[in-house]
């Protein structure tokens, strides 16, 4: 009897409490509903988010990007801020874990109400965060060269999409090295696969060359023996590589150990920047080529200023890779769009960005222009690696139009 009484009492308590809860929730919901257009902007300050991996396997790669974003924001603040407001940063750690990126994006947009987010590195993290940005109508500046096939209203892509990076480099190697046969190797995920698909179509249909091997290795793979044997057998004119992350170290060391060096073999990679060379070691890579849009050694006044400022802020031994530079462009592109719109409102900023005529003449890579399709017009560069971990630019293309959905390459 007693227990029955107790139970029914509990039930009452539960019922009442649930009712209270619902009411409280309704209140919260309506209060938030009225503020959905309100961003964290005061008369003196505007808040933005930085979202990169500070821990985990991607931390090495993403550190440079967040450093560059902080540098750009510091410079903007020193020059008077945006619309008279200083930029305040809220930083979150994506922890190399894609769902964490989604969680932190939601936190930045919903709780902190940041006006823009600079962040993400891998495609997987962007794909995870993208629905959040679209749902909450946030604005993401994404710095990495990537596979394309995407164009979201809520994202500005400051790196190259695949065709921008790949085609000019292939044309160059065909012309300079008289290359006819290609061996494609990449890590096994969407970016290398899409890039290789584009490369193969270009090689076969446009250049009239031949792909003699195409291979994908799991992420984090460190065994390239069988690949190297196949390469020896097929003797391709060019090895075309998109191996990423830690695998790169094993890949280039094993190539060298097997006697495949730049003396006898042309190798063109689309996944090695100055950041990766730190881990690989310049001596293991000497004479091989990378295609990127930016190299630290680029000789122009913008870049000299940028490199100097970067080293002052983050130390003399820091290096600057392609993504780091692209990340640096993010806050500047945002500033330009906000000032034109006269507002931090995401829809207005996007509308200005979509006019397709925002230029950055001060970009370290030279000159960039924002295309209507949210990507940047930029140049592709081929550079030859030197022992000291820097690269010498040997070829610069014309300004290339971004084409995230390339016809004929799908």
């Amino acid at each position: 009897m007693k227990s029955k009484f107790l139970l029914s009492k509990w039930r009452n308590v539960l019922g009442v409490a649930l009712g209270v809860t619902m009411a409280a929730n309704l209140n919260i919901a309506t209060a938030a509903g009225a503020n959905t257009t309100g961003l964290a902007v005061t008369d003196k300050e505007v808040t933005v988010g930085i979202l990169h991996s500070l821990t985990g396997t991607m931390a090495i790669s993403e550190t440079g990007a967040q450093e560059a974003e902080k540098l750009a924001i510091k410079q903007i603040n020193e020059s008077g801020g945006i619309l008279g407001r200083q930029i305040k940063i809220i930083q979150e750690d994506g922890a190399s874990d894609w769902p964490t990126f989604a969680e932190k994006s939601r936190k930045l947009l919903v709780k902190d109400k940041v006006a823009a987010v600079f962040g993400c590195w891998t495609s997987a993290s962007r794909k995870a965060a993208l629905p959040v940005f679209e749902k909450e109508n946030g604005l993401l500046y994404y710095p990495t060269f990537y596979e394309g096939l995407e164009q979201s209203k809520n994202v500005i892509y400051t790196g190259q999409e695949a065709t921008q990076q790949i085609l000019a480099g292939l044309d160059w190697v065909k012309k300079e090295k008289k290359a006819k046969t290609f061996y494609l190797i990449g890590s096994d995920y969407i970016w290398p696969r899409t890039s290789m698909k584009i490369a193969r179509k270009h090689i076969e249909k446009v250049l009239g060359g031949k792909v003699v091997g195409e291979e994908y290795k799991p992420l984090g793979n460190t065994q390239f023996g069988s690949t190297i044997n196949k390469i020896r057998l097929k003797k391709p004119d060019v090895i075309y590589a998109a191996v990423v992350g830690g695998s790169n170290v094993a890949w280039f060391k094993q190539l060298k150990a097997a006697g495949i060096t730049s003396k006898k073999q042309t190798l063109l990679t689309i996944s090695v920047t100055e950041d990766e060379v730190l881990g690989i070691g310049g001596e293991n890579l000497e004479g091989f080529y990378s295609i990127m849009k930016y190299f630290q050694s680029q000789d122009n006044p913008n870049n000299k200023k940028f490199v100097k400022a970067f080293k002052e802020m983050w130390g003399d031994d820091s290096v600057i890779g392609d993504v780091t530079q692209a990340a640096y462009l993010g806050p500047w592109l945002w500033k330009a769009a906000v000032e034109r719109a006269g507002s931090f409102d995401v829809d207005k900023v996007v509308a200005e960005s979509e006019k397709g005529d925002i230029e950055l003449k001060t970009a370290p890579e030279g000159y960039v222009k924002l295309h209507k399709n949210h990507h940047l017009w930029s140049k592709a560069r081929v550079a030859k690696w030197k022992k000291d971990g820097q690269a010498e630019v040997v070829f610069t293309s014309d300004l290339i139009e971004p084409d995230p959905f390339p016809k004929g390459y799908q």
Partner: protein, 386 residues
């Protein structure tokens, strides 16, 4: 009444524990947290399914599985496949070269839906698949191991390897699985937008109710004869076998049951988070689930829920407050738990919680307080009388 009280709720003590947890999950958290945080709690509670499944399997069965992520992931993928098909109607995918199939298939040059995706356009089938696919998979693994008397550390290693293999498989077969990106951009469930604020509340409560259902089910199993056999097997497997029981069958059963429980968590995860990726299938999440169970107390169905909440709250809070060195704080937390509370939070509760429980159970607090006041009054009266 008695059946419910004794077998499902775990007697008076168990009932108080459940009532406190229910109050926390159904009332206190929803009343105090905003939607963003509540959604996070909802996500954590889906991991609690996996932790509860480990109480059955590891705490009572003594079978350590380092591959619960596999089942969590299979459940999650089954749900994600259904949601993805719904999100990929020809209208919203008309930009693709083959409209009507999920976007990642289009990127991988697939021109039609693979046969094993077809049935996932039915919600009924999907609901069944969420439970049955991991169940059948667990049965195959369990049957082939336990019948051969593979156990202990070997079983742990093999389950871990299965987690690894499945991750590699999912990442490698990206045309069929979405690869390392996973299955993303899920929008509606039978036309119901799962990203709305109101649906987030509903999903949270559905998830919590399911979790309690699973706890009751587990308690029912553990208080049955089967539960006692499980404990006996854990302590002296040979003796149980010599008594004429087929040990392997019991092990297969508990393994399959735990797989199904973890899978429900996975499906609820997909619904609340809005995507599924191989990072919930592999070794790291599987081991994290074991950590949740260890921190909460692997013999306690309620304790592991607290363990899961505590670890995940810690993760979120530390990483928001100290983005640069939060991992060290998490490490410190684990070390502290293992050193000072080897039986997890539940152990702590067993040691000191009885005081509180007794109090509530017999309404002793009132009595004690009354007695105390009475005695004071009495002494006063006595003194006055003197």
């Amino acid at each position: 009444m008695n059946f419910i009280q004794e077998r499902l709720l775990g007697g008076k003590n168990g009932m108080i524990g459940i009532a406190i947890l229910a109050a926390l999950i159904f009332i206190i958290l929803p009343a105090t947290l905003d939607l963003f945080r509540l959604n996070l709690v909802g996500k954590y509670l889906t991991y609690a399914f996996a932790a509860v499944s480990l109480v059955l399997l590891w705490g009572y069965g003594g079978i350590l599985s380092l591959g619960q992520g596999v089942f969590f992931g299979l459940g999650g993928y089954a749900m994600a496949m259904f949601l993805k098909l719904e999100a990929s109607d020809p209208e919203s995918t008309k930009i693709q070269s083959t409209p009507g199939i999920p976007d990642f298939m289009d990127w991988n040059q697939l021109t039609e839906l693979p046969w094993f995706w077809e049935p996932f356009s039915s919600f009924g089938f999907t609901t069944l698949a969420v439970i049955l696919v991991p169940g059948i998979f667990a049965f195959i693994i369990g049957y082939s191991m336990f019948k051969r008397r593979v156990g202990g550390v070997y079983f742990a290693i093999i389950t871990q390897i299965i987690a690894l293999i499945l991750t590699v498989l999912i990442v490698g077969q990206q045309g069929y699985t979405g690869g390392i990106n996973g299955i993303t951009d899920l929008k509606t469930l039978n036309g119901w937008d799962i990203r709305d604020d109101s649906s987030k509340y509903i999903l949270y409560f559905v998830n919590a109710i399911l979790l309690f259902g699973v706890i009751f089910l587990s308690r029912y199993v553990l208080t049955s004869k089967f539960g006692r056999l499980l404990l006996a097997m854990k302590d002296k497997e040979d003796r149980v076998r010599f008594s004429g029981y087929d040990v392997s069958n019991f092990k297969i059963f508990v393994f399959v049951l735990s797989a199904m429980i973890a899978a429900i968590g996975g499906a609820m995860f997909t619904l609340q988070v809005g995507f599924m990726s191989p990072s919930f299938v592999g070794i790291v999440p599987s081991i994290e689930m074991v950590i949740f169970a260890a921190v909460g107390g692997r013999m306690s169905l309620i304790g592991v829920v607290y363990g899961t909440l505590l670890v995940n709250f810690g993760k979120t809070m530390f990483s928001e407050t100290f983005p640069e060195f939060w991992l060290f704080l998490m490490g410190g937390l684990f070390i502290a738990v293992v050193m000072y509370f080897p039986n997890g939070l539940a152990g702590l509760w067993d040691k000191h919680g009885y005081k509180l429980t007794n109090c509530i159970k017999n309404l002793q607090c009132v009595n004690v307080a009354k007695a105390f006041i009475d005695s004071k009054r009495k002494t006063k009266v006595d003194v006055a009388n003197d």
